[in-house]
Point group: C2
Chain length 338, copies 2
DNA sequence: AAGAGTTGAGTAAACGTTTGTACAAAAATA
DNA sequence: TATTTTTGTACAAACGTTTACTCAACTCTT
């Protein structure tokens, strides 16, 4: 038999106070355990609280205290394996230390990004973690009010804390491996270009330099396209045109790598003998592709842990300055594709 | 040169009222465009509002009005391709009609689920959309307060609105295809078992019935396991043991299918000649696997659209009753694997 | 030109908290 | 015992809105 009182929609401090014969203030102090009450009243109040299934109205609380115990996260695309993993891990970390997380998928749309920035600010979030869309994050007005932390994509303002994988080194390692194995190195880049992608490309180029290879047009394959089919076509054409070379594709993401491998199969080229492929991210499908994908592993757990730690530190002691640029090491995971 | 006033942290209705020489009430009415003001004051106030970069404090607003224009979403695992897609699409749909979305990843953890339920309730969300974890969703206390809509996994309470793909039919179609192609049908199920999985299994069994095939132990492969490696092993053993049969694997998700295909390759079995594989979900990697994966396509867009539409209708007119059980058709996408 | 309706405002209460101030009673100190 | 300190509590303001009431000043009706 369910307690009928559960139905009552609104049980406030006032009601609890009335029921237990003390003042609202006392109830509040008991609930927040902020002292100045006797053991006896404590028990009495807590009993009534439980019996009436009282929940603090956090709206009112936040309005009064100016903070909400919640942290906003802006993410450009939740269906992206890397992003969703990072976000999930951050949430897990923050949950452990008592913060609730508000995740907002901006769909890489500046309008939505702004919209959510506003609603989050209006919700008195205690801090903001942002993975920006295709344009560098740039909101000084908010940054003045709450701690802001950027992940993966460099913010416009150099003073904003920024955590990311060491993309450049990752690309360097991958490219060096391709070169070492005698492939003709080519980077394959998708449509969306972010600062992280840029770093990877720069790492790629650096590797060529180190090996005294002159970077030319044929070392890159840019996939400008609205949909996957035209990706397919562009890749196929490129492969056809460069049949003479033993290509080593450094794909800027595992997903691109998967598409490339698919096209390679269509042309009946043998991986890794006739062509090599390396990806980036080490998402959950990397080991499941056929052949399994050699790729650069991003340490999502580390990124998430660092992000959570840093942001909570920034909240609790805004004065102590933290490192502005944190780079998380990446590792190459050698599998079959190169 | 940036406006210095941007820095001021707190500009409230009161301040705007003072600045424009009218009462707070008038400013409020202008901002919400709720009448009872002259064109002249409107312009004056709006100017001041703009100049001072005023933002409504939604906390205060919600506290007063009892609603927040935001909708909570509970999701068991954001790294799951199907879930993240659905959630993203819902968010897009709700955004278009002016709702902001609060996404919470419960990590299939009942504790986190409860925690978020509480914080969401405390935030005065206008409605809740839930994809439950491994246990059917069961929160009548909340359901009494705001509209609740369940997706994909059947809620405990039969009166809760429920939207999902037609899992049973999907499984039926897939299994029938395997049978038609002369395979010995086997369903492959992962660890987590949900009501949606159960429906799929039931569809599978129904297909056997229709074809007068007796369901036995060897028609199922249950992957009870903590990690992917032991998945691998279980699958390998099963394949070895059933070498004599021409197996047709109906995998309860694309991800499982990918793992299975990987093992099949290891044993040098030829797909689709010696063994067939069909998945479920049609996630973005389905077409990229090798061979590409025949699978059951879930219409995430439709599910999302329906969810958004239904929930907004429930909010605006709680009295009109909507269909309690909405099934979204699925389609088979024929590719190479079976 | 008198009454009725409309328009443009202001006042103040309310939403549910937290917290500074106040103060009596009890406890500790001298 | 007289004084100080601590303890337990209440009161009331404040957070930033929305909105039900008022009400004076217009604008129409006849």
């Amino acid at each position: 038999m369910k307690n009928l009182e559960t139905k009552s929609n609104k049980v406030s401090l006032k009601e609890i106070a009335r029921l237990s014969g003390v003042s609202i203030a006392t109830v509040s102090r008991v609930i927040n355990n902020t002292g100045r009450f006797s053991e006896e009243t404590k028990h009495r109040v807590l009993n009534i609280v439980k019996k009436n299934n009282y929940r603090t109205n956090t709206l009112a609380r936040s309005l009064r205290t100016k903070h909400s115990n919640s942290i906003g996260i802006l993410v450009p695309d939740l269906t992206n394996d890397f992003f969703s993993k990072v976000v999930q891990e951050i949430e897990k970390n923050l949950f452990k230390v008592g913060y609730s997380t508000i995740i907002c998928d901006t769909q890489r749309d500046p309008d939505m990004e702004n919209y959510y920035l506003n609603t989050l600010e209006a919700k008195s979030i205690d801090a903001l973690i942002v993975i920006s869309g295709d344009h560098p994050f740039d909101s000084d007005s908010l940054t003045e009010k709450v701690p802001v932390l950027c992940i993966d994509r460099k913010p416009k303002n150099k003073d904003t804390i920024f955590i990311s994988s060491n993309h450049k080194t990752g690309a360097l390692i991958a490219t060096q491996r391709l070169i070492d194995k005698g492939y003709f190195p080519v980077y394959v880049s998708p449509d969306h270009v972010s600062t992280s992608r840029a770093s990877r490309i720069s790492g790629f180029k650096h590797a060529l330099e180190l090996n005294s290879i002159q970077f030319t047009q044929s070392n890159s394959l840019e996939l400008k396209a609205p949909n996957q089919e035209s990706y397919d076509k562009t890749i196929e054409e490129f492969l056809q045109k460069n049949k003479d070379k033993r290509l080593g594709l450094f794909c800027l993401s595992d997903y691109i790598a998967a598409i490339a491998i698919r096209q390679i199969h269509k042309l009946n080229l043998k991986i890794p003998n006739e062509i090599g492929v390396i990806g980036f991210d080490d998402t959950k499908y990397a080991s499941l592709l056929n052949p399994s994908l050699t790729t650069i592993h991003q340490d999502t757990s580390k990124i998430a842990e660092l992000s959570a730690k840093t942001i909570t530190k920034m909240i609790s002691s805004p004065s102590t300055d933290v490192k502005k640029n944190i780079e998380v090491p990446v590792t190459l995971v050698a599998r079959e594709s190169a």
